[in-house]
Point group: C2
DNA sequence: CAATTGTCTTTCGCCTACAGTCTACGGCGC
DNA sequence: GCGCCGTAGACTGTAGGCGAAAGACAATTG
């Protein structure tokens, strides 16, 4: 027990700037997802290092990690290139995402308490408001947070981490599409939450599956 | 066209020892999975470097990768520690594995041709032979190859890569158990292949799900 | 004129060196 | 005797440098 009368959770925890490699990692990921670095582009370590004001080492380590997570391709003795998504890969990734999200919905339906349900409804309401205001970026952000919350309710950390990575890449591939489908998406969210509230695992799975599959359909319709 | 009369495909392509970091990665992974490095153990970069005859840099990069894949925990300013599996995590990982493998079985049932089926049956036969000979290591290896083959037949690269990682970790956690269940496992394999041969997606999914779930049951029974 | 070869630049892969930080232990005061 | 503080050791985090491989381009030769 601490002898000082400090309030337990309120200690700021001395915000330290974590390892440099992590910040470089996030910076690069941001640049990639925002298309500032385009697919296929050659990433030169020394350039990035100079541009970010650090040495090559942290940049190298960040690139390694980005490579294992599928954001860049690391050709031996040649360097890092921003990964170029193919039609096939995007499709496969979406299949996996559907799988993971559907399972999360099922688990969430099995575990969710009343407090959690209201939390979901709050998030959903906020998202709907963003759509009503034509705040596209806000709606996309709320969408991510809602899905993340469902993942959290599922209570499976491993599943959550995998899904987080897959989700982020799917969003990267499908950003042009995702921005288009605002309203319909949130109607489906309501349905999903209802299913979870009723503890109906089957229906929650089915709704989530249909929900993510709509993205695929949207995309294929758009191709023409 | 080459003017030299070199045989076209027979050129050995000059096997080069890939990047050092990759070899270090595989060496460390081997040491971890074989329990030569025990969970919780502190991995000192300079020690490993000296022991492997390389500098710290490749070791660092290998540790980074092992960290993102969940084999070691990287505590800032303190170093790398071999990850310690918890009951809960093992359980969650198994859930994910069940999910991925079941989907793979479904896709395999949808795609498999006759040639592929015979290939599966050959692998299965070889596995059964290993069991009959009490060749435990051989049986485990064949098990891995069979599952990998089914993944391949599923034709989803993303799914395959994810499953490969999850599988490897599951095998690490459950090695003491996995070695125990030889015969029953291969009976189930036969069933699974039959379902795939009949193109029965539903049944293939169900059989694979039951198959992986048996591992969980085995483990929990063993706890007592 | 085309194919080839030699050279040259760029960039990576790895090593070495230094600075910052955490841990452990021993001395000092109470 | 007990607890706190300071110091020393060890290890990680970051920086910079050297050798080597890959690609580009020009010169050379048939």
């Amino acid at each position: 027990m601490l002898s000082t009368g400090l309030p337990q959770g309120a200690v700021p925890k001395l915000e330290r700037p974590g390892p440099l490699r992590d910040r470089v990692y996030e910076a690069l990921l941001e640049l990639i997802t925002t298309r500032a670095l385009q697919p296929g582009q050659h990433l030169v370590e020394s350039e990035l290092a100079g541009h970010l004001g650090v040495s090559r080492q942290p940049v190298r380590e960040a690139l390694q990690r980005l490579s294992t997570e599928g954001w860049v391709d690391l050709r031996p003795a040649q360097g890092a290139f921003v990964h170029e998504p193919t039609e096939e890969e995007a499709d496969q990734l979406l299949t996996v995402r559907t799988l993971l999200e559907a399972e999360a919905a099922r688990l969430a339906a099995a575990n969710a308490g009343t407090a959690a349900i209201t939390a979901l409804e709050d998030l959903c309401a906020e998202g709907e408001r963003a759509v009503a205001d034509d705040d596209v970026d806000g709606a996309v952000a709320m969408n991510a947070r809602l899905h993340a919350k469902i993942m959290e309710l599922a209570g499976n950390t491993v599943l959550a981490e995998l899904a987080a990575q897959v989700d982020r890449r799917v969003r990267w591939y499908y950003t042009p599409v995702a921005r288009q489908r605002g309203r319909q998406s949130w109607i489906e969210h309501r349905e999903l939450i209802a299913a979870i509230a009723e503890r109906d695992e089957q229906r929650a799975t089915a709704v989530m599956r249909a929900h993510t599959e709509h993205t695929r359909k949207m995309y294929h319709d758009r191709e023409k």
